[in-house]
């Protein structure tokens, strides 16, 4: 049961990934793209967790841990850029 549930989870997340990527491409503002990027990071965390279950290797959770801890830095960086006068509509 877990096997197919994991596969289903991975497929769901893959779909989420595609949708979010679409938002990233569409934009229109930089902030929109960054929001999408943040969600992509979370989806990646999810994929890693599901994959850890699929292959029965908790080691992959460590990657998820690092990603969870640092992914928001990109958002902080972009936000700083915007506040310093970068245009948001490129």
């Amino acid at each position: 049961m877990i096997e197919w549930a994991v596969v289903a989870t991975l497929l769901i997340l893959a779909l989420a990934l595609v949708l979010t990527t679409a938002r990233l491409f569409i934009g229109p503002s930089l902030a929109d793209r960054v929001v999408a990027l943040e969600l992509i990071a979370l989806i990646a965390v999810g994929i890693m967790l599901a994959y850890a279950i699929q292959v029965d290797r908790p080691a992959f959770m460590d990657v998820a841990l690092v990603l969870a801890l640092t992914a928001f830095m990109a958002a902080v960086g972009f936000a700083r850029l915007l506040e310093r006068g970068g245009s948001s509509d490129e």
Partner: protein
């Protein structure tokens, strides 16, 4: 212009920095057995400091870091290089790993090793380098 001047971010940075540093030490020390190691640990720490740069400013971060990143970088390089040399005293090739199990009171048996020293060197280099770059960029901007 000052940094982002966000109360929320500042408070979060104060809270996250020690957490990230501790986590980086953790990643550093167990890297030999689990995913991790000096490089990843160094990057985690550098991300922590970078967050601090974003939330506060370069000057505060420089003060916080206590050591000039370039000096830290130098020490890291030296430490990593020197870690390969003790082996020669034992008549072995450079960079032959040496392992010394040490009994530390209260903590118990701890294994010190030249690969660990090497990894610490890597750790310092990564922090020093990344922060030298980030601080220099941030300072120019400010």
């Amino acid at each position: 212009m000052k940094a982002m001047d966000s109360l929320i971010l500042r408070t979060a940075a104060r809270f996250l920095l020690p957490l990230l540093l501790l986590f980086s030490l953790f990643v550093l020390l167990r890297g030999h057995d689990e995913p991790g190691g000096g490089f990843i640990a160094g990057l985690v720490a550098a991300v922590g400091f970078s967050l601090y740069v974003f939330a506060f400013n370069a000057g505060d971060t420089r003060e916080l870091m206590w050591m000039d990143p370039r000096v830290m970088l130098g020490w890291g390089l030296l430490l990593a290089t020197l870690s390969g040399l003790p082996a020669i005293l034992e008549g072995k090739a450079f960079f032959t790993a040496l392992w010394w199990p040490v009994e530390v009171p209260l903590i118990g048996s701890v294994t010190l090793s030249t690969p660990l020293v090497f990894d610490i060197g890597v750790y310092l280099v990564v922090i020093g380098s990344v922060m030298a770059i980030v601080l220099a960029l941030a300072e120019v901007e400010e």
